[in-house]
Amino acid sequence: MQQSNAYIITFSVILTVVLGLLLSGTAQLLGPRQQEAIALDKKKQILGAVISGDEIAAMTPQEVNEYYSSHIGATVVDINGKEVTEQGGVAVSAENVDVAKNYKKPAEERLYPVFIYHEEGDPSAVKSYILPLYGAGLWDAIWGYLALDTDMNTVGGVTFAHAGETPGLGARITTPEVQARYQGKEIFDESGDLVGVLMQKGEGKDYSSEPHKIDGMSGATITGTGVNNMVKNYLDHYKAYIESKKSSSAVAAL
């Protein structure tokens, strides 16, 4: 069957319009639910830095929301560790700060949210500070959350996520196995310099006696380097805030 060009073009246009409408209609319809799912996922990631993935997986979405609101407080700081409550006349809240968008600005101008994990319903009994991280992996963006204990030195836990790392290699940063390696590591060395926690090249070595090194991921050295840069950069950006908390907790200890 040989059709005229006009027929082919008309057919294509109609098909495109119909399919386009179908897709945009679906996107409109499902949009709010997807936003909810994304917001819930963000909360799970934040909580993932302080409680285990199994515990989170066992919770219903409602329980996650409740746990989050009763255990997590939040604040926003700037590069100097000063609290920011509004920017350009608009009130800022940690939940609404888009770390990815801020990443595009120079480090001095970014907003830095801090999520504060506290005892249930008691914001003054802080258990740890959760800092968002953002950076570049091998193929695409990577991001995550790092929980610092109240000594502002020991890593309580991390969660990582990625947009497009290689499955089975770089994508392993999302697994509990890799993330557990960060627990108990320290970010300051003896002389008080911020060194962060560095993932090493190669896999299978024991770094349990080294506070700033962790085992790497075989076949994913570039992703590992990306994670290292991300952790180090953001710890640097949060340094003023970390120092301020450190000195205040030192005073409290006296």
Binding site: Q2, Q3, L30, Q34, A37, G168
Partner: protein, 227 residues
């Protein structure tokens, strides 16, 4: 003209049974004898990639069943109006739309699954089974038959990837559908007894080995020889 139609109406056979022998064959053939994975060796990419665990594999299988059956149906309905010169593009547009729908629904209702399957849902578009069935069957057959044919191929694909996933999850992670099996068995025999998991099964290489074994067993039984 009118005489001709009359004649045709007289000659018209009784309607074919909803599940006649021929139609049953459309569904059952691709399960074993014409299986898309083990015989035609299509759709291997996703069979390797998503089969580390049963749960995502099941979601993947359902998505593929939906996409193949629906695209076969849509293309078959339109088969007489599709301009033959742009038919591949038309097929692609329909398949891509269906896949995007699946992806959007997963994102809204099963966000964790959406994240886990990530790119592989989108890659259903390039799954050779989908386009293969459209070209080979839907373009020349009626909608109902096309849906049956699509279901057959998709089910043939599904049971294979589920079988692969079953063994990979069992041997690689020691569980089935996330329920720990190895730990339970170890528990029965006391604390000193421990079943070890095999890391190879978690990597794509494990899927190759399992798939190879399945094909071997199947061809031994059916006596199928590649021409």
């Amino acid at each position: 003209m009118s005489a001709e139609t009359l004649e045709k109406a007289i000659e018209k056979k009784p309607a074919e049974a909803l599940l006649s022998k021929r139609r049953k064959k459309l569904v059952t053939d691709p399960l074993v004898d014409e299986n898309p994975i083990t015989i035609q060796v299509l759709g291997i990419c996703s069979a390797l990639a998503v089969t580390t665990q049963m749960k995502p594999t099941l979601v993947m299988a359902i998505s593929v069943i939906f996409v193949i059956a629906m695209s076969n149906f849509v293309i078959s309905v339109m088969r007489n109006t599709i301009p033959s010169r742009v038919r591949i593009i038309v097929q692609l547009a329909v398949v891509a739309t269906l896949v995007t729908l699946v992806s959007e629904v997963l994102k809204a209702f099963a966000y964790d699954m959406y994240k886990e399957l990530s790119v592989f849902v989108g890659l259903i578009i390039t799954n050779c089974i989908v386009m293969g069935r459209l070209e080979a069957f839907a373009l020349g057959n009626k909608p109902y038959d096309s849906v049956l044919d699509g279901l057959g191929s998709a089910l043939g694909y599904s049971w294979i990837i589920l079988t692969v996933a079953f063994f990979r999850e069992l041997w690689g992670s020691g569980s089935v559908f996330g329920i720990p099996v190895f730990d339970t068995i170890s528990g029965i025999f006391g604390p000193d007894f421990k079943l070890a998991t095999n890391g190879l099964m978690v990597s794509p290489v494990g899927a190759f080995i399992i798939l190879g074994l399945i094909i071997w067993v199947q061809r031994t039984k059916t006596g199928y020889v590649e021409h």
